[in-house]
């Protein structure tokens, strides 16, 4: 059982929370200009990091508020808890320094077989404040 420090309520059991997946997936600035591949990447493609990972959580049975959390997917060590909309804080062990990353490093190009036609996830930028 994880003990998750809710920014509003303090430490509570993991069962009071729900997981919201990878944090900082920005909504595309011009969704209408995305082709199907880019839209699919925005909707479905997520990092599968082994190590420190920024993710969203909601305190469902408590204050019902969303927040971001940096958690180590191997050790379950919770390294930071911060507000929705604020950038990922620097933590003790940056993701890049982790030796065994399961897929690609953060913000690297997601390839779908044909690398030339795919768009790097990091190139889809979002307006200020849209980052969740």
């Amino acid at each position: 059982m994880l003990l998750i420090p809710c920014p509003n309520c303090g430490p509570r059991d993991e069962t009071e929370f729900h997981y919201g997946g990878q944090a900082h997936v920005a909504y595309p600035e011009n969704p209408n200009e995305l082709n199907d591949r880019e839209w699919a990447e925005y909707l479905f493609y997520r990092e599968n990091t082994k190590g420190t990972f920024a993710e969203r959580w909601v305190h469902s049975t408590g204050c019902r508020q969303w927040f971001n959390m940096v958690r180590d997917t191997v050790t379950y060590d919770i390294q930071a808890v911060y507000q929705m909309g604020s950038p990922r804080p620097a933590t003790a062990v940056p993701a890049a320094a982790e030796s065994g990353t399961a897929t690609t490093a953060a913000n690297s190009t997601i390839t779908l077989g044909d690398a030339a036609s795919s768009t790097p996830a990091s190139s889809i930028s979002a307006p200020e404040g849209a980052t969740k």
Binding site: D13, E16, C63, R64
Partner: protein, 211 residues
């Protein structure tokens, strides 16, 4: 005239309604151990869900109706018989006696609605959403500790605070109203389950303690 008739009518309806744990009333009576731990249902309290940012004009208007709003997790703003429980940074639960409900001639909900006016937020009558259990006695904390992972020790959970959490694996609000008295607000559909769960947790205290 019409208003009086409507009130009479709602009193008739009131006689016919059943509280969510009414079927457990006899079990609560026989399962309670006088002076050790007792359980009963406080049926039909008036509850109003309020969602408003306290730092807005609408928040100030709502606050002037209730007398104040709690500021952080655990806080309860009590004003006579009416209390405001903190559920979230912009979400509160107003708990008041049955008589405060408009069906019995009360005006609490209307007053809150009028205070919110066209401000951002909502005022919703949630009186039928939850029921209220009162668990009291020197063993009340031990009963709750079997199914609630909060630190219920008095040095942490102070009398007069309320927290939204899980009890017996179901979501509920726990309000410590006295040093040995707790109010528990389960959703109506969980009332039967939680009532039986509490009775089961209380049972051992009816037997002599094994040294």
């Amino acid at each position: 005239m019409a208003e009086t008739a409507a009130l009479e009518n709602s009193k008739k309806t009131r006689m016919a309604r059943q509280s969510p744990a009414s079927l457990l009333r006899a079990a609560f009576e026989s399962g309670s151990i006088a002076g050790v731990v007792e359980l009963n249902e406080l049926a039909f309290l008036t509850m109003v869900g309020v969602r408003v940012d306290p730092n807005t004009e609408a928040g100030t208007r709502i606050s002037s109706v209730t007398g104040g709003l709690p500021a952080r997790s655990g806080d309860v703003y009590a004003n006579g018989e009416t209390a405001v429980l903190w559920l979230g940074p912009a979400e509160f639960l107003v708990v008041a006696p049955s008589e405060a409900h408009e069906s019995l001639g009360g005006d609490l909900i209307q007053a809150l609605r009028a205070a919110l006016s066209d401000g951002e937020g909502q005022v919703v009558d949630l009186s039928a959403n939850r029921t209220t259990f009162e668990l009291t006695g020197p063993r009340a904390r031990a009963v709750l500790e079997k199914g609630c992972s909060l630190d219920l020790h008095p040095r942490v959970l102070k009398t007069g605070s309320a927290l939204s959490t899980e009890i017996g694996n179901i979501p509920a609000i726990l309000w410590k109203t006295g040093d040995e008295t707790y109010r528990i607000f389960p959703r109506a559909s969980f009332a039967d389950f939680l009532g039986r769960w509490l009775l089961d947790a209380m049972r051992e205290y009816g037997s002599p303690e094994v040294p």
